[in-house]
């Protein structure tokens, strides 16, 4: 019997191997707020062989689509997704960093058109170079501490 930090869920999405401390940001990326209807449980600072410490997020009764889940790679490039059905893992995969992101990162450049009152969604080109790097589609500003701009 495997040891589970939080109780088993019947159906839903488990996001594992999140960098410690980033669980709440993962929820933010997934658009889950206090007034959302999903039941969410979180485990933070769980000891992990691979990562030292990690966070885990479980969203009950909901399968989040892959495109949405891949956005997690922005802050947790090692995250693994487990889709659970009837208490069993149905599918397991690692998030893949998207090349282009809309509407998650806010541009740090205050003089950028994406921070004005125009009808505009911030867009970023994203790549991995030792760390995740994002570049504003509009003003070319590079963002390195992405967590701070989500």
């Amino acid at each position: 019997m495997k040891q589970l930090t939080i109780s088993k869920i019947k159906e839903g999405t488990v996001i594992d191997h999140i960098n410690a401390g980033k669980a709440l940001l993962v929820l933010k990326i997934l658009g889950i707020h206090p007034d959302s209807t999903e039941t969410v449980s979180m485990a933070m600072n769980v000891p992990s062989k691979k990562m030292g410490k990690k966070d885990i997020v479980k969203v009950e009764g909901k399968f989040i689509n892959e495109e949405q889940l891949n956005k997690i790679a922005l802050i947790a490039p090692k995250a693994t997704i487990n889709l659970i059905k009837d208490y069993e893992i149905q599918k397991k995969f690692r998030v893949v960093l998207p090349e282009f992101i809309e509407g998650i990162i806010k541009c740090p450049n205050r003089n950028c058109i994406s921070n004005s009152n125009e009808p505009i969604i911030p867009k970023f080109h994203v790549w991995f170079d030792g760390e995740v790097i994002a570049k504003c589609h509009y003003c070319n500003k590079k963002v390195q501490e992405i967590s701070e701009y989500i």
């Binding site: 003089n111 950028c112 058109i113 125009e118 009808p119 589609h137 003003c139 070319n140 500003k141 590079k142």
Partner: protein
């Protein structure tokens, strides 16, 4: 079909696109000077949308369009500021792109031109967006270097405010496509930001005295007073980044001096009479280069 629909950033062009435009500009020089008439853009209308004041860029686009037989409508900075209060840029662009066949936009916010392109039915040419891009300036700079010197195997020094000058930033990027050696000459506090040095080879920080007898091109930019804590500090620093005829005695005979203009006093008028001075030619080359750009983005519309 045109090679590009909009011209937003010099990075959107590859070396071949750039050489194509420069070559095309060469063919337009006679028309730009008024020695030959042209009607290639007859019936086409350019809208100048300037949310920030500019004389040179706006006027040279207007001349370029008219010399090619096209027409121009202008929104002045004053009109723009009252529009800006009540209407989004997105809406302004949607409306004006119904009136005109091509739009030249200058805007104080970075990324404005790329956003405008998303909202426009007609080509957008970036005439400068905040501290961001000014690709037509870069193309005319390259054209000047090509015509008055060479784009291949030269040594070029960029001098003055290398930190804030968007002209310098895009020119450096473009120059790396060519085989040039670049020297950076600036006060300590106005050095080129690291991010522009990334991936650059053949770039060196230098002093004017050390390179003046060796360079082929000296590109001078203005050092602005506002960048300094006080007047005295400014005068001390700016004073050592001035060019006069005396200094040029040590220069190569084929050295050319460029400046995006307007100058204040970084180039002494005594330089104007020397064969080195090319900044007024440079300003003129804005016309054939902008003609080439206009006819290129409008060629798709003609189909």
């Amino acid at each position: 079909m045109s090679r590009f629909r909009h011209l937003i950033s010099i990075d959107d062009l590859d070396k071949e696109d750039i050489l194509f435009i420069l070559k095309k500009a060469k063919g337009f020089e006679n028309i730009a000077k008024g020695e030959m008439n042209s009607k290639v853009l007859e019936g086409k209308i350019l809208a100048n949308l300037f949310f920030e004041p500019s004389t040179r860029t706006r006027m040279s686009f207007e001349v370029a369009m008219k010399r090619l037989g096209g027409d121009v409508i202008n929104m002045t900075a004053q009109e723009a500021s009252s529009v800006a209060k009540g209407e989004t840029l997105a809406d302004t662009i949607k409306v004006v792109s119904k009136y005109a066949d091509v739009i030249v936009l200058r805007h104080p916010l970075e990324g404005a031109a790329r956003f405008a392109a998303e909202n426009s039915e007609v080509p957008i040419i970036n005439g400068g967006d905040g501290a961001g891009q000014h690709p037509t300036q870069t193309l005319l700079d390259l054209y000047t270097i090509m015509k008055e010197s060479s784009l291949d195997g030269i040594k070029i020094a960029l001098m003055g405010d290398l930190k804030y000058s968007r002209t310098v930033h895009s020119l450096i990027k473009a120059l790396t496509l060519f085989n040039t050696e670049i020297y950076l000459i600036s006060p300590e506090t106005l050095r080129l930001p690291e991010e522009f040095l990334e991936g650059l080879r053949n770039v060196e920080i230098a002093g004017l005295d050390d390179v003046i007898d060796d360079i082929n091109v000296l590109y001078v930019t203005r050092i602005q007073k506002e960048r300094f804590p006080d007047e005295e500090e400014y005068r001390k620093v700016a004073g050592s980044y001035k060019i006069d005829a005396e200094l040029l005695k040590r220069a190569r005979e084929d050295l050319i001096i460029m400046h995006p203009l307007p100058r204040v006093d970084e180039i002494d008028v005594s330089v104007d009479k020397t064969s080195h001075a090319k900044y007024f030619e440079q300003a003129f080359y804005g016309v054939p280069v902008r003609m080439a750009i206009l006819s290129e983005v409008l060629s798709e519309v003609v189909l």
